[in-house]
Amino acid sequence: MKVEIYKLNNQGKQELVAECKLVNELVECLGEEQFLKFLNEDGIRDYTQNPPRQLFPKDGHKFLEQLKYNFKSGYLSATDILDN
């Protein structure tokens, strides 16, 4: 299982920023260094919780599942969970 995250460039084309894969119940992300640092340090929000809590790659499937709810602006967009 994996999620791809894309960034929009000035020409209106999407560029792959990172790919996050579920490996042994943990998420491993590969891609742009700044973005990976952001994911690891800031984490993302779990909107199923009230108040939302932060999720990090160590949270595994839940992290993968919530990526698309965090990156949905168009400037940065995450796919649904895809097959590897």
């Binding site: 800031d42 108040p51 709810y69 949905k72 940065l76």
Partner: protein, 284 residues
């Protein structure tokens, strides 16, 4: 898809704002030339090339999906426009021009595409005052969804753009306004808040917002403008004041024991500030 009466109101005969930017006309009536689908994610997002006039980020109503219980899908596009109007009337200049229009028989919000910008996580040196200003806006529009992936940075960090404003104005129990803690709102922003509070534009903004988000959320929004304008004049926002803002009593979600449904508190009722208060509203 058949439009509701309310949608027709917004796309055909909505109240014109007396304050606007020229680019709004382009967004409203420019000819869409090319569409690029940007998303598979939570909501549909389409980049539109407008003939001879730049690009816009279009978010169709029928491409909205459930993200959270507090803000219903099918209303995000109106909230995008409402957030822009608040920004415009307060002269904060943070939200790119955003209008509601129909493209290929789909109604939605379209926001001017910001060129040459970076997503904020890519930028380390953002000017502190700007983040405070962004938090002022987020407090007023009660944005619980601001994070470093949904504001843009330009010009070496001297210019911010607040994008992705669909999850706003709703009864979330807190707003993403951490930059306000132990901060002072700049004299310039304080002046803007004061100018608005003393102007006739309040009534105009109120009428425009009511069409988009309804009376209750409009009243709460205007109450927050009043509150932050007062606080801005008092100097530093201490942690105590910040906590009062972040968990604004007018926005706390109360779950009724009898119905198990969230209900809004009466506007000016003072209650204990917590993340979530569980109570039997019938007994209060």
């Amino acid at each position: 898809m058949e439009q509701t009466g309310a949608e027709k109101l917004h796309t055909q005969t909505h109240t014109e704002s007396p304050i606007s930017k020229p680019v709004e006309k382009t967004l409203e009536s420019g000819i869409p030339e090319r569409e690029s689908d940007l998303g598979w994610g939570a909501n549909e997002v389409i980049l539109i090339d407008i003939k001879d006039d730049g690009k816009g980020v279009f978010k169709p109503k029928d491409g909205e999906n459930h993200v959270r219980d507090s803000v219903s899908e099918g209303t995000y596009y109106r909230r995008e426009r409402a957030a822009y109007l608040v920004d415009l009337f307060l002269d904060l200049d943070l939200v790119p021009p955003t209008v509601i229009r129909e493209i290929n028989n789909r109604v939605g919000s379209i926001q001017q595409f910001v060129e040459d910008a970076q997503v904020s996580y890519q930028h380390a040196g953002i000017i502190k005052n700007l983040e405070v200003e962004l938090a002022v806006l987020d407090y007023i529009i009660w944005n619980s969804d601001r994070h470093r992936a949904n504001y843009l940075v330009k010009n070496d960090g001297s210019r911010l753009y607040a994008i992705d404003n669909g999850l706003t104005f709703g009864p979330d129990d807190r707003a993403s306004i951490y930059a306000l803690n132990n901060s002072e709102i700049s004299d310039e922003t304080t002046q803007k808040l004061t100018n608005f509070s003393q102007s006739d534009n309040k009534a105009i903004l109120s009428a425009l917002l009511e069409e988009l988000i309804g009376t209750k959320e409009t009243e709460l929004c205007l109450a927050r403008i009043k509150k932050i304008a007062t606080l801005a004049q008092q100097g530093e926002i201490t942690t105590e004041k910040f906590n009062e803002l972040q968990y604004d009593p007018t926005n706390i979600v109360i779950i009724s024991k009898s119905t198990d449904q969230p209900v809004l508190t009466p506007d000016h009722e003072k209650i204990t500030v917590k993340h979530q208060v569980v109570t039997d509203t019938a007994a209060r």
